[in-house]
Homo-oligomer: 352 residues x 2
């Protein structure tokens, strides 16, 4: 990898509900705050629109590189078909910067499915990985925990769950800095015989491996921080993530209503904001697609300026931490582990 | 059905983390509050222990019938094996009161799997129903909604999900009194092609039926009240329910911490309690096992006196509302609906 290029961040400025405006502003914010230097950031998108947004945000004088991408994949498009049709889509152009080693990470708040499919097709999976998974980091009563998969893969096999645990373990230890991360499977009971077939078979793989697997964990224990890495299939994980988001907002509204009866509006606002920070996706900087040969950060569709800057911060951290090197090492160490052998060459592996 | 017997409630006093004490006290509370009359309530459990608890709670003079059950199924037992071994378990004796038409409903805060299996084996399913499902009612920003299944059936087929929707729709309309309940499938996207195979095939069944199906709903929209009946398999539903419970507690703790910095302890306590009421399982009175030939209320293992009284209140309401008559009618009306024909005689159907 070329030293400078591999450290740059390719920012999809066209992805997300508030793109390109908020994403471009997020880029400027990240530079202002010293999160990243201008040469390390590449804005990908419609050149004229991005330039206009830069100008309006007062950033026209910042020396930011824009790589033109004429198309955008909209939120309601079928990912694979859209990727075939829109060769000039911002997510494709941004991902190709990573493929060509001109950047080390791609950051997008656009279509999650498109970003995932694009990464698999253009970057390939890490050798030995059957399916990439999307990991999110969130706050518990005892620190940060990682949930994987939150939507990359909705019809999982046991080996996929096992590899999710392995990858997120490396990520938790080597990037989040948790000394000995405990892996658990999300399940509907702690006992070994509980759950659906997928969960039971995945548990067997974990138990047979050398990984620090603590068994099943139930939903009510997630936020107590009983485990550092929580593994489930993408259907369950996505619903858990989104339901938590919805319930969090519901509870903030309840708080607000109850507080309004006894406190002044400014006090209410301050308290709600402080409480909200603990469950704030914008603070946590997006999700990470683990298992592809490159760093891919997927932000919330609703990302605003602040969230976009957070994503850039997190991407920079991942690039610096060389998250994939740690995963590849962990995979190498687990060659004897069940499922790690897998097929030697899955169809999606390293087309580059 | 005999008029009086079929209206009685059989209370499993031995099930739950705080049984029999809190359950017995819940029974007395329900009578005190006029929720139910003493002759309508049958306490099932170890006669001496129940009598002792009654005495200690000052209820020795209340004319409550106790039906002796020498055994208890513990929370960590495998349900089917335990049911085989412990013929005198309180949940079995209580369920048999319904089977024998001496009661119209059984209420238990004990082992969910045991209560479910016991109901299927001793009461049988309603004719045409393939698998019973557990429904919970909860509060949204726009009123009450029902989530089904939260753990009866972890390896679902599309027809199971379809029947869950049909049953919960009848329940929502005829018991909760929602005029035109909207049914939605929990999924990871609103678009038809989203989700795993199970969700896609179940959606086809709903769309082909005459039921008011509004399509897929994502996790973040559950608490906004976008649908009145939310359908998913028991693995997903249980995780969603439990995760919500855990996140609710997490947020109350956050909230408490933030409030403690600006308010007096008594004010903090009052506000937290008021907020907690909106997500309080004890207020909502347990879950309902839909699809068996009898009314089965399954309470939270942590149920205290107040939760036990709530369960009795809800059971009484269900008995009075004849929830199963409405479901049978709905099933009859949907004979032409896909999947409703099913096998004519599933193995678990009406052993009685």
């Amino acid at each position: 990898m070329a030293e400078v290029g591999a450290k740059a961040i390719a920012l999809d400025t066209m992805g997300g509900d508030h793109a390109p405006r908020e994403i471009v502003r997020g880029a400027l914010r990240a530079i202002e705050k010293g999160i990243i230097t201008a040469p390390e950031l590449i804005l990908v998108g419609d050149r004229d629109r991005v330039a206009a947004e830069l100008k309006e945000a007062g950033g026209a004088t910042v020396n930011l590189q824009i790589v033109h991408a004429p198309d955008v994949i909209e939120m309601d498009e079928a990912p694979l078909e859209a990727l075939r049709r829109k060769r000039g889509a911002s997510i494709v152009v941004a991902t190709d910067l990573v493929r060509e080693k001109r950047a080390g990470a791609v950051v997008s708040a656009g279509h999650t499915g498109a970003a995932t499919a694009c990464a698999i097709l253009r970057l390939g999976t890490l050798e030995g990985i059957r399916r990439p998974g999307i990991a999110v980091t969130f706050e518990t009563l005892r620190g940060k925990a990682v949930l994987i998969d939150v939507g990359a893969n909705v019809d999982c096999k046991p080996v996929h769950l096992f590899q999710y645990g392995l990858m997120a373990h490396a990520y938790s230890r080597d990037v989040l800095g948790i000394a000995t991360p405990r892996i658990a499977l999300l399940n509907i009971g702690e006992e070994e015989e509980k759950g659906n077939r997928l969960a039971r078979e995945a548990a067997d793989l974990f138990r047979a491996s050398g990984l620090p697997f603590i068994g099943n964990i139930e939903g009510q224990d997630i936020f107590k921080g009983k485990a550092d890495v929580l593994v489930c299939d993408g259907f369950v994980g996505n619903l858990i993530l989104k339901t938590s988001e919805g319930l969090g907002e519901f509870m903030l509204q309840i708080f607000q209503r109850e507080l309004a009866a006894v406190l002044l509006p400014d006090q209410v606002k301050a308290l709600v904001l402080k409480s909200a920070a603990h469950i704030d996706y914008a603070e946590h900087g997006g999700a990470l697609l683990l298992g592809v040969d490159g760093i891919v950060i997927i932000g919330h569709g609703r990302s605003d300026e602040r969230a976009a800057a957070s994503m850039i911060r997190v991407a920079k951290k991942f690039v610096d931490a060389e998250v994939n090197r740690h995963i590849v090492t962990a995979l190498g160490n687990s060659k004897d582990a069940p499922g790690a052998q897998a097929e030697s060459s899955p169809a999606t592996n390293s087309p580059a």
